[in-house]
Symmetry: C2
Subunit: 223 residues, 2 copies
């Protein structure tokens, strides 16, 4: 694995406390590299907004609840647009991929009756596949670039998500609605369903943020 993936994953997994300086030498030692490739990885993360430049070096970025709110607004906008465009431009092949992802999604949910953490991870992953299939069908290659950067932030909190089986089934229903709309080329219905879907996710994340014990991941506003 290269330095960029390593550091990014560590941030996403919450292994670095937000606000913490990233010391190049210790990172380099940890992954048996020199500082040069580390610095390049950090520059990349800086351009993506996951780390913040200081006078010297960088620190891991804080994300506040307000950030989450704003980022989800953007994600809703972008993915809603992607869904509406997918309804217009999707090919049969695009449709096949979405349907396949959604079948896997349904299976993963049904496997999840015990609600263990591993199967939850599967669900999140397959869900992502479905969303990617829609973006891929949207006929706008640039949108993927922006969505990927907007999607990263909530993932920071992924390990704290918790869904009950009712929520998961509800989410599956919305997936099906989106899929139907894209299939029958109802672009506005696809957009609205996607909006609903993502806002559900946002509300869920924000609600559960309150309950997070490992509060180190959050810098509250005004501190």
């Amino acid at each position: 694995m290269d330095a960029y993936e390593f550091i990014k994953d560590a941030i996403i997994e919450g292994k670095f406390v937000p606000g913490m300086r990233l010391a190049e030498e210790s990172l380099a030692k940890e992954m048996n590299l020199s500082r040069t490739p580390i610095r390049e990885a950090i520059k990349q993360l800086e351009a993506e907004g996951l780390v913040i430049p200081l006078k010297r070096g960088v620190s891991v970025r804080h994300f506040t609840k307000e950030d989450i709110r704003q980022i989800y607004d953007l994600r809703t906008l972008l993915e809603g647009y992607a869904a509406s465009q997918a309804a217009i431009h999707r090919t049969e092949d695009d449709l096949l991929k979405m349907e396949k992802a959604n079948v896997l999604y349904e299976e993963a949910i049904n496997r999840n009756v015990e609600s263990d953490m591993d199967s939850l991870k599967d669900i999140v992953e397959v869900n992502q596949k479905f969303h990617e299939a829609i973006v891929a069908a949207s006929n706008n290659e640039h949108i993927h670039f922006h969505i990927s950067k907007v999607v990263v932030v909530p993932i920071v909190f992924r390990s704290f998500y918790w869904y009950n089986s009712f929520q998961l089934k509800q989410s599956l229903e919305v997936h099906k609605t989106i899929l139907e709309a894209i299939k029958s080329r109802e672009s506005e219905r696809a957009r609205i369903a996607m909006h609903e879907h993502i806002y559900q996710g946002r509300d869920h994340v924000l609600k559960h943020l309150e309950q997070i014990k490992n509060i180190h991941l959050l810098k509250e506003e005004g501190k």
Copy 2:
């Protein structure tokens, strides 16, 4: 000026032929630096999508007409949203900044009766200030990050733009409509006016792209 700005400007100004490899050593020599800061600048440009990674090193990215079309779609979406949110959240201070930028815009346009290139540059710059004031008032700090990356690409072609005074006055009218809508908190009207405004810009760029002689800036689709 640092290496990042230097290379980025050179790409935007069209000094590097798209597809061309960026040789680190020659860039380093040109700006009296070592390769280290050059590499970091390039990594940043890579993350922004202005250069494309090769097996080894990077090349300046091609932008096709289809890219322009897609990017303007995204810009319309994002700035339309920013305008609608600005109508909801703008403060008196935000409003003042927009009005000021727009006064400067009007003045710059009236100065442009001779349609020379320098004053055109002024107009483009003041126009940008107006757009930035709206984004700043949108109450979403993350949106600025994405818009700035989406706005860069058309700038690559800026030196080829040509506006006649009729188009400029029309554009001023739309600005005023947007401003009014934001002032009177009509969010949907602000969004629609912004859509119209940016799509006008897109049509204009696409139309004039046909006439560009220095075709080296364009890689046509399928070549």
